[in-house]
């Protein structure tokens, strides 16, 4: 709601007040809470997707309740699992059949970058064939990371941002970042 409120003003008073907002903001706000999903589950990550969609994690509270097994009715394509080269045309076709606006979530390391399948058989990340909005690393990712990914997608929809974003591990224990930075000679902190 917050991002709509920024653009929104209440005009007038008494019984007959009215509200103005930007049309795009209202539309984006409406879209991000009514995501119909198309689960394209191909491998072990599928199990984790079922867990994330189960009542315990309750993906419905994000407005992403209904899985649609027709691409025409879906807004979000969840690519869950390893995509082999032989399967790539099928995935591309499903994506092409979805109606605009559409978003893609790469669920798991295999869908994001091919994972440990660095060979002739596997597509090294579905961003090689489709534009991807959110990548959720993990083999498989925990349901919490999946929910983070969904919230990230909602935020991106609200912002109108189509760059690829990666769900980050948000809960490293104290001191772990410094240690990893030293170990791998990378920069993790701003």
């Amino acid at each position: 709601m917050a991002d709509v409120e920024l653009e929104t003003r209440v005009v007038g008073g008494g019984d007959a007040g009215f509200v103005t907002t930007k049309f795009e903001a209202l539309l984006a706000w409406a879209r991000k809470y009514s995501l119909f999903q198309y689960p394209f589950a191909t491998a072990c990550c599928g199990m984790e997707f079922f867990a994330a969609a189960s009542p315990r994690y309750d993906i419905a509270r994000f407005g992403a309740e209904a899985p649609r097994f027709s691409p025409r009715q879906a807004d979000v394509l969840w690519v869950v699992g390893t995509i082999s080269q032989r399967q790539a045309p099928v995935l591309k076709r499903i994506y092409d059949q979805m109606t605009e606006p559409k978003w893609v979530i790469a669920f798991g390391t295999c869908a994001s970058c091919g994972g440990f399948y660095d060979n002739y058989a596997t597509v090294p990340g579905i961003d090689k064939i489709l534009p991807v909005d959110v990548m959720i690393p993990g083999c498989p990712p925990r349901p919490e990371a999946v929910l983070d990914g969904l919230m990230l997608l909602q935020q991106k929809i609200g912002d109108g941002d189509r760059t690829t974003a990666v769900v980050k591990n948000t809960q490293l224990p104290d001191g772990a970042e410094e240690k990893l930075e030293r170990l791998y000679n990378i920069r993790m902190r701003p």
Partner: protein
């Protein structure tokens, strides 16, 4: 344990059994390509062997043994449900024309395994009714489990998109925090 099979084979085929070995309960007999089908038939029908259960058929690329006449080693594993013993028959095939008789008349289950062996190694099976690729696609060139196939050389069916990441670098960009993600204009992944 199943030495009896090896003895029977040697008795029946004489010099056409090139070598036999027994190790850790595995009994192996190498036969000549000319009598491959016959040896399998014998192992199945001989009452002392009675190997009625087809377990597996595949090949090994022994390209480093320095002998182009014996580059491929096709093996079949058969098990006797009644006698509870198992045998492995092998045949060595040359590099330039790896071809051997099909075992479908002996065990009908050999059909798909021979197709897989053809797909992965390019070994042809004489008399196979439907020798097509089974795991890969028709457009694929070469046979990926041959050791001279470059392991990472993919043959994509869907052309890769321009400007994608090589590999994911989730920890370098400070994007992807589910909360407090501020709007960023389209940015270079580097």
């Amino acid at each position: 344990m199943a030495r009896i099979i090896l003895d029977r084979l040697k008795e029946r085929f004489g010099a056409d059994v090139l070598e036999t070995s027994s190790q850790h309960g595995d009994d192996v007999a190498v036969v000549t390509p000319a009598r491959w089908r016959e040896a399998a038939e014998f192992v199945r029908t001989d009452p002392r062997c009675a190997c009625d259960y087809f377990v597996d058929l595949s090949a090994i690329d022994c390209c480093d043994n320095g002998d182009p006449e014996a580059r491929f080693e096709v093996y079949v594993i058969a098990y006797s449900v009644a006698r509870k013993h198992r045998v492995r028959l092998k045949v060595r095939l040359p590099e330039d024309n790896p071809e051997v008789d099909t075992l479908i008349p002996v065990w009908v289950g050999a059909n798909w395994m021979e197709r897989e062996c053809f797909d992965m190694f390019g070994v042809r099976f004489k008399g196979h009714p439907d020798l097509r690729r089974i795991l890969l696609y028709e457009e694929f060139k070469g046979h990926p489990l041959r050791k001279d196939y470059p392991a990472q050389q993919a043959q994509p069916l869907v052309a890769y998109r321009e400007g994608t990441y090589d590999k994911l670098r989730p920890f370098l960009a400070d994007e992807g925090m589910p909360l407090d993600r501020t709007f960023k204009a389209a940015q270079d992944p580097d």
